[in-house]
């Protein structure tokens, strides 16, 4: 499979949203500078954070800033597509930084690919997930298990996906997730009764990503942030 593009997988770490954003921008610009040769998958867990995407409205955040501060929930406006979402412990965040030249220069096809990646990942743990285009995201029945919001510069992607592993779903009551009022959120834990270990989900996420996107994991020479 020497024709496969290389992917460097970083993480999973617990990292504040802004710090992770700065890392994404660095990696994105590195991918652009390499003509798309250097690709990354950043796997993370954020501390409790509400993010408002480019199409989000402040009224979709249902809790005042003071109460959010009391609960130590960060509120961040960010430059991904999409509306409002929540990130927190027990949620696997994945930020693929890849050039879409091999995948048709099509951001929406890319979002369908992200959905398929996560559907395969959930199914590998026995959760019958599915995509429900045009309702971007990954669903189990009519419950949402993963959210997607992306951005691109010069056809290099950043931002990405958030999959609930064993996240406390009560956090989502602070917001109107993705602008869909009444949507019920779920997690691997809720669907299975007990969540698989977070590290195992992260490892498998990297493997399934490589398989679906036809990439191969870069052989790394140490580097503490690299998952092995």
């Amino acid at each position: 499979m020497s024709g496969r593009a290389e992917l460097t997988v970083l993480g999973p770490d617990r990292m504040a949203y802004e710090e992770a954003f700065e890392e994404q921008v660095r990696l994105r610009d590195d991918c652009i500078a390499s003509g798309g040769a250097r690709s990354y998958l950043v796997l993370l867990e954020h501390p409790p954070t509400i993010t408002v995407g480019r199409s989000g409205k402040t009224e979709e955040v249902l809790t005042g800033e003071r109460r959010l501060a009391e609960q130590e929930v960060a509120l961040v406006e960010t430059n991904r597509g999409g509306r409002v979402t929540f990130h927190g412990p027990g949620q696997l965040v994945g930020y693929p930084i890849i050039h879409l030249g091999r995948r048709g220069l099509d951001l929406h096809r890319y979002m369908r690919d992200l959905e398929t990646w996560l559907v395969k990942l959930c199914r590998s743990f026995g959760v019958e997930a599915h995509a429900d285009s045009p309702h971007t995201g990954v669903w189990v029945g009519d419950r949402k298990i993963a959210s997607i919001g992306i951005a691109a510069r010069r056809w290099v992607t950043y931002h990405g996906v958030a999959l609930n592993v064993d996240a406390d779903l009560d956090w989502f009551r602070l917001i109107v997730p993705c602008g869909l009022s009444g949507v019920e959120m779920t997690s691997l834990e809720k669907e299975l009764g007990a969540a698989p270990p977070f590290q195992e989900v992260a490892l498998r996420a990297a493997d399934v990503f490589c398989e679906h996107f036809e990439m191969r994991r870069a052989v790394t020479t140490g580097g503490e942030r690299r998952i092995e």
Binding site: G53, R54, S55, N79, R80, G81, G82, G104, L105, D106, L107, H108, R109, Y110, M111, R112, P134, T136, I148, G149, I150, A151, A152, R153, R154, H159
Partner: protein
């Protein structure tokens, strides 16, 4: 000479229009070939459109919140 900057093809699976999020540049500014000019958004995706040529930004034809079709002119650059 003037160069029109148009909304590029977004791909077969993508809608044929996008919404203007914001401009990085102002009319009268000198822009470089390939410089990020404007951020656009579709459903769950945000992306930047680069300048097709360097020169002075002569005019901006669409503003924040406008919906624009693929091929529509967004701005005019004079070199």
């Amino acid at each position: 000479m003037t160069v029109e900057m148009a909304l590029p093809e977004l791909g077969d699976d993508a809608p044929d229009e996008a919404e203007v999020s914001f401009w990085y540049v102002e009319v009268g500014e000198h822009v470089k070939d390939g410089q990020d000019m404007v951020e656009m958004v579709t459903d769950k995706a945000a992306f930047t459109v680069p300048a097709p040529a360097g020169g002075r930004l002569a005019s901006i034809l669409v503003t924040e919140g406008d919906r624009v079709k693929v091929g529509d002119t967004l701005a005019i650059i004079e070199d």
